[in-house]
Amino acid sequence: MDVATLGNMLNTAFVFSTALILAALGGIISERSGVVNIGLEGLMIAGAFAAAVSAFHAQEAGYGAWSPWVGLLAGALFGVLFALIHAVATISFRADQVVSGIVINFIAAGSTLYLVKLLFEGSGETSLVDEVFHKVKIPILSDIPIIGEGIFNAYPTTYLALILVGVIYYGLYKTAFGLRLRSVGEHPSAADTVGIKVLRMRYTAVLLSGVLAGLGGATIAMTTTGTFSHNTISGQGFIALAAVIFGKWNPLGALGAALFFGFAQSINNVLQLFEFAANVPSEFIYMLPYVLTILVLVGAVGRSKAPGALGEPYFQGKR
């Protein structure tokens, strides 16, 4: 395998990973505050939908290259909207978090498609947006072999995702906000007794997860598909959830997990370029990313420890 191929593989890996990274970051923030977020898939759907629709209108309104940014913003906002449902249900009304997450997935899938049909005259897909993101080369850095092509010739969203990994890592581990957020997820009544507003903290976290997962969905619409339809998001939210656990609820870990997954995906494209691949049934090549993920989990990671109070609703006086 030559250097160029490796660089290209890395590049493809990043394309696949970006949305996973963003959504996984959302999952981490929410779960670090103690709220299970199995609704990532739904939040991504909401984000992709809003991005596709609003970028299309922005483009029609003449926003030009700003259109995908409008889409991104709308994706984040729509993610928040659905996250708010999750927050109200699980935090204020103490509904089971898993149930609520599944509900988010249902409602997001149903309502976005319904809206698409309303907005696009019965069509099951939004109109194609021409003004989507394009890869941006970073001068000098992009000349480094392998890594240059792999990392420094990427979509703006990829850079955004990488920056957010750093920001959230810093936020979680270096700031007072992060300390408080984590304490709320580990031991809410401990946080409560030192005057931290547990519920407000959790609301913040869940809404932030809506922003991030919404961005994740928007990324897919604004880089790969340019449209939104019933299968724009098909399982990425669950893979992101896996990345949260795989990455042990740590932003850097999730970055690694998401990249690993993206890399495994890109391997299967590269494999098809080789002669010997003709003899391997294609189904086995499609399976590869998933098999690899399990093998790595079995081999290297083992038990990962969830935040102490994950899944437990909190109310004052809870024992």
């Binding site: 069509s123 194609l128 890869k135 897919i220 494209n269 294609s282």
Partner: protein
């Protein structure tokens, strides 16, 4: 995307597909010989706006509505179990003709036809052996041969890509015809193939295209439905980055949707025409019940759109015509799958 686009640009299509109208609005124009007749179709899980054969078929019915005043309706299948129940819904509702759109409908159409001998059904892309069913298939290999000729003569790198959806006979016909066309005019060219395993995953199509272009190819022919959108997106992106690459579209004239700057040409598959024609035959009392119709170059049911002349040189198009004549005359036999 297409649903809305049809309204704006559909009329410009060389297939002359009519302006899309709401599902059931009564037709205002055209002759009214089909006025009391009801036509229907059942889509597969791709849905009616799949930018592929489901949509094309629906456009055929819409034209029928416009021209004849027939009433039309469709049902989308959410899962395979719905194929039969959806078809039966129409059959029980006494529709004059019900279309099963797509290869996957075969068993359901057969079942409904056997149990309802009085009903009339038709199927696209599959063959159902029943006296009350019209089966329509296409010689995709013939049309693909022609776009293969275009690709073989256009490539500068002598590397050409093919992105397939799922590895099934229909798609195999595209692949084999295409490869034969390329080799016929350019024996040195290499065809890099990638089956993505899905018809509805633009992200997989994009990644597949990326790796093929990266490998040096300058043209990709896709036969992958929605997955192919990813191929176009990748090509556009390379174009913006200053690298000229081509895509050859499929089923419809995809230059209308994705633009001339990346679409070299398309391999038309006139599902709309087939649906329109067979339905019209029904109105005229000439329904080809129990007949298997294979539509190929000679029927103008596959081939290149007129817009091809924008990007394909006159000489090459002449070559295409040459090969077309040879295929129709039987001088060349294009390889096919099953």
């Amino acid at each position: 995307a297409c649903g809305a686009k049809n309204d704006n640009e559909g009329a410009a299509s060389p297939i002359a597909s009519p302006t899309a109208t709401a599902t059931e609005s009564p037709a205002a124009t055209g002759d009214t010989s089909g006025k009391d007749m009801k036509f229907s179709m059942v889509t597969d899980v791709g849905g009616v706006n799949d930018k592929s054969f489901n949509q094309s078929a629906w456009e055929g019915l819409q034209k029928l509505e416009k021209d004849t005043g027939a009433s039309i309706k469709y049902l989308e299948s959410k899962e395979a179990a719905n194929y039969l129940t959806n078809i039966n819904q129409f059959v029980r509702d006494q529709y004059n003709l019900t279309w099963g759109i797509g290869f996957l409908m075969g068993d359901a159409v057969k079942d409904a036809a056997t149990k309802n001998p009085d009903a009339k059904l038709a199927i696209i892309d599959n063959v159902v052996d029943a006296p009350n069913v019209a089966s329509i298939t296409f010689a995709e290999n013939e049309g693909s041969f022609l776009v293969g000729v275009v690709a073989g003569l256009t490539t500068k790198t002598n590397k050409i890509g093919f992105v397939g959806g799922i590895d099934i006979p229909v798609i195999k016909r595209f692949e084999l015809g295409f490869e034969a066309g390329v080799k016929a005019v350019n024996p040195n060219a290499e065809v890099i193939k990638n089956y993505t395993g899905a018809f509805d995953k633009a992200d997989l199509g994009k990644a597949a295209a990326a790796s093929i272009y990266n490998d040096g190819a300058d043209i990709i022919f896709h036969a992958a439905g929605g997955t192919g959108n990813g191929v176009f997106n990748e090509a556009k992106e390379r174009l913006k980055a200053g690298k000229k690459v081509w895509v050859i579209g499929v089923d419809k004239d995809q230059s209308l949707e994705f633009g001339d700057d990346v679409t070299l040409t398309s391999m038309l598959k006139r599902v709309d025409e087939a649906v329109y024609r067979v339905s019209k035959d029904m109105i005229d009392g000439k329904f080809p019940a129990g007949v298997i119709t294979t539509l190929g170059l000679k029927d103008n049911a596959v081939g290149l759109p007129e817009t091809s002349s924008k990007n394909v040189s006159k000489e090459i198009l002449d070559k295409v015509e040459e090969y077309k004549a040879k295929i129709i005359s039987g001088e060349i036999t294009v390889p096919t799958a099953q």
